[in-house]
């Protein structure tokens, strides 16, 4: 085992920290959360220049060809700064297309993701709010060399910015499939934004007899089932890595606050009750980081470990939201205000907790792998 960063990873961490320090500040995050997406689009353009959307895309398709483990290092930094950009959405969809797509779909889509011309976001969840894709109802009917899609997807992150959506559908023969659908100002597409605690744009998408070339199908049948499972797993690990970073940032802020805030003539951080809260937060942040990196490391071009992905998401979902509540307790009344940034982290942690399956969803699936 080796818990050290590689040279590449050191470089990713250093440059991400430097960039995000100025670019993903409180003002930007609050502005995006209040529905002003100029700041988001500005930031997104800059991340494209840095090559982040294509980080795990192979070099032959214009990407950087880095590993999923490398991506996790970047995601920790994005989580720590609450950066309101669709890197996770872009990275996991490109990962799945590279793993499961045909040569033609790869060479069609991946270079455009690398260049920032295509922004692909997953749409998986439907009205029942479940990440169990066996209940997928969005219907696709074959029509010549096209498929015609009708139905509704919910909780699609960055749908308002995305050009395409990687969507789970049910074919007319009853099989599941995964398809890339152009959604940017496309005919038959209607978006309804929701006001989401994450502070980033989230919408539902209604497909009303949307005609999509059959060539956009990434996988069908058994292969699609595997691809969709891997997509949800990759999303889980990505969110876990972001949550690890978020937890670390909240811990650091709480250490700093309790070191400086004085009561009874001494810093509140000298009190054992407060110190123990902080020790527990430090443990949680470290555990989630280890589990997230272990899971991310397991993703390769050959496969991945669902067991590790589930463990990462279970721990991240439960421990980091709890860490945020403890941080509020340590901050006292000031952390209960709208002015203070702490609730931005808490809101994001709550949103990420549910994304790509909450703890209960993954515990249930993990129990299956344990033979229970």
């Amino acid at each position: 085992m080796d818990f050290g960063l590689t040279e590449t990873q050191e470089l990713i961490r250093r440059s991400a920290r430097e960039f995000l320090k100025d670019q993903s500040d409180s003002e930007t995050i609050r502005s995006v959360a209040s529905g002003n997406y100029d700041a988001l689009e500005n930031l997104w353009k800059k991340t494209i220049e840095l090559g982040w959307p294509g980080l795990v895309i192979p070099e032959e398709f214009g990407g950087a060809g880095f590993s999923f483990g490398d991506l996790a290092v970047l995601l920790e930094e994005l989580g720590a700064t609450l950066a309101p950009v669709p890197i996770v959405e872009s990275a996991i969809t490109s990962w799945i297309i590279e793993r499961y797509g045909s040569e033609s779909i790869k060479s069609e889509i991946l270079p455009q993701i690398s260049s920032g011309d295509i922004l692909l976001t997953p749409s998986i969840v439907e009205r029942n709010g479940s990440w169990d894709t066996s209940s997928t109802t969005v219907a696709a009917t074959k029509s010549g060399s096209n498929v015609v899609i009708t139905g509704e997807k919910r909780f699609v992150a960055f749908a308002q910015q995305a050009t395409h959506s990687l969507t789970t559908i049910r074919m007319d023969d009853g099989e599941l499939a995964l398809i890339a659908i152009p959604i940017w100002k496309a005919e038959g597409i209607h978006q309804t934004p929701v006001d989401h605690a994450s502070g980033v744009p989230v919408s539902s998408i209604t497909f009303n007899e949307v005609v999509v070339p059959e060539a956009n199908i990434v996988a069908t049948g058994e292969k699609a089932v595997k691809a969709i499972q891997e997509l949800v797993s990759a999303g889980s690990v990505a969110r876990a890595a972001q949550l690890a970073g978020l937890g670390r940032a909240v811990l650091d802020a709480t250490v700093s606050y309790t070191t400086n805030r004085e009561q009874f003539g001494r810093p509140v951080g000298t009190f054992q009750a407060v110190q123990h809260h902080l020790a527990e937060m430090a443990i949680a942040a470290k555990q989630v980081s280890h589990l997230a990196h272990s899971a991310a490391w397991s993703f390769s071009r050959e496969g991945y470990s669902y067991e590790r992905a589930a463990q990462a998401k279970i721990a991240a979902s439960e421990k980091i939201s709890a860490l945020c509540w403890t941080a509020h307790q340590c901050h006292g009344a000031i952390g209960f205000t709208w002015e203070h940034d702490l609730h931005l982290y808490t809101r994001r942690a709550l949103a990420w907790k549910t994304d790509y399956g909450d703890a209960g969803f993954h515990k249930s699936n993990l129990a299956d792998t344990m033979g229970l």
Binding site: T270, H290, L291, Q311, L372
Partner: protein, 391 residues
């Protein structure tokens, strides 16, 4: 980053596992109870076998009986031994006192004692806690008076695990009663057969004789048995605790216990069939598995840091806290899962899993207490790890 063992590490783990298949009785379930003579004999036999393989102290230098391996190998060794609930592992000698002697002992002391630890010849015990000095260890009162070529030791140590099986004790004594509490302490080695050493058994709440009170009544200890400088024992002794504080055994015990529970609920026993499909039980077992893996990674992180030349004090404390907590949590859940049968004592008729979970739950109440309570560990994490002010 790499979250798997190297080929060499995996190979070693396989060889150790095969060795234990051979060395442990077919029906071995553990955990070892060293107050039982048959378990103690098995302990001695396995320890010698492990020593013959050169596995007891792999990370030590060759000249002291080791093989210059990384601390990772020691952790893999400890994990596998604990996972199998195998006896034969003198933690006091191999993990705590040996490394301390290497750092602070004289060359004569190293040659005399390290080889015998590596060969598994002598059993050590640790004399730190006293009846009036628990978490506040620096208040210890057992005194060692300078009597020319020897010290005369008088006082009492308590909660001394395996004192009744040990050949030697490394202990903290007060050598200067007039200076500040931390400044007047020394670390010495005492032969347990010395005249004036009186070992009084204490039976723990699980009904096991695992620890003792040890009374020292004017015990003569040669001056050559002083480790490190006179009155520098606090620093020397705390180093021991840094080596002691790894949670790997607890994480591995927890994994073994969880697997036993999963097997139990998966078995086709008409009484329990209803619980194996219960969604809450399934999710709880999955959650425990997650927590165990989280604790395990913390422990391997400690080993990795040691291999990088760090003394990961805060991380070691974290690993001790999480691993002892998850182990007691798994055992707690085991007792709960067995329902009415969970509270049957070992040896009782109608008991399930031989009453092991109740006994282990009671026995390992000690985990979050010993080697510095988990509350003390959290102080260390907050102050040394996070840099929070003391005052």
């Amino acid at each position: 980053m790499r979250f798997e063992f190297t080929a060499e590490e995996s190979n070693f783990k396989r060889r150790l596992s095969a060795f234990l298949d051979n060395a442990l009785p077919d029906d071995w379930r553990g955990p070892p109870d060293e107050s039982r003579d048959d378990h103690w004999h098995l302990n001695q036999k396995i320890k010698r076998g492990l020593a013959d393989q050169g596995w007891l102290v792999m990370s030590w230098p060759k000249k002291y009986g080791g093989s210059d391996s990384s601390p990772m190998m020691n952790t893999i060794f400890a994990e596998e031994m604990a996972y199998r609930r195998a006896p034969g592992h003198d933690r006091f000698g191999t993990r705590m006192f040996g490394p301390t002697l290497m750092r602070f002992g004289s060359e004569d002391q190293r040659i005399k004692y390290l080889g015998s630890i590596a060969r598994g010849e002598i059993q050590w015990c640790q004399g730190y806690s006293e009846p009036n000095s628990g978490s506040d260890l620096a208040s210890l009162q057992t005194k060692a008076i300078d009597d020319g070529d020897h010290f005369t030791v008088t006082g009492a140590k308590i909660w001394t695990s395996l004192a009744h099986r040990a050949d030697m004790m490394f202990m903290l004594v007060r050598t200067d009663p007039n200076s500040a509490p931390h400044k007047g302490i020394s670390l010495i080695m005492v032969d347990m057969k010395s005249p004036g050493v009186d070992i009084q058994p204490i039976i723990n709440m699980a009904g096991v004789h695992s620890f003792n009170q040890v009374i020292f009544n004017e015990v003569r200890v040669p001056k050559e048995n002083l480790v490190g400088d006179l009155n520098d024992g606090w620093r020397v002794g705390m180093t021991v605790l840094n080596f002691e504080r790894s949670g790997i055994d607890y994480a591995a015990w927890a994994r073994a216990a969880l697997e036993e529970l999963v097997d139990y609920v998966s078995a086709h026993d008409p009484i329990i069939e209803t619980i194996s499909s219960d969604p809450i039980i399934r999710r709880t077992l999955a959650e425990l598995k997650t927590e165990i893996e989280a604790a395990r990674l913390m422990c391997f992180d400690v080993a990795w840091r040691q291999g990088q030349g760090e003394v990961p004090s805060s991380e070691a404390s974290m690993s001790k806290v999480v691993a002892t907590e998850i182990y007691t949590k798994v055992l707690d859940y085991g007792v709960e899962l067995l329902g009415m049968y969970g509270v049957l004592e070992p040896g009782s008729s109608q008991s399930k899993l031989e009453g092991r979970f109740l006994k282990m739950r009671l026995f390992y109440t000690s985990g979050p207490i010993l080697a510095g309570t988990n509350e003390i560990q959290k102080n260390i994490i907050a102050q040394r790890g996070l840099g929070l002010p003391r005052k």
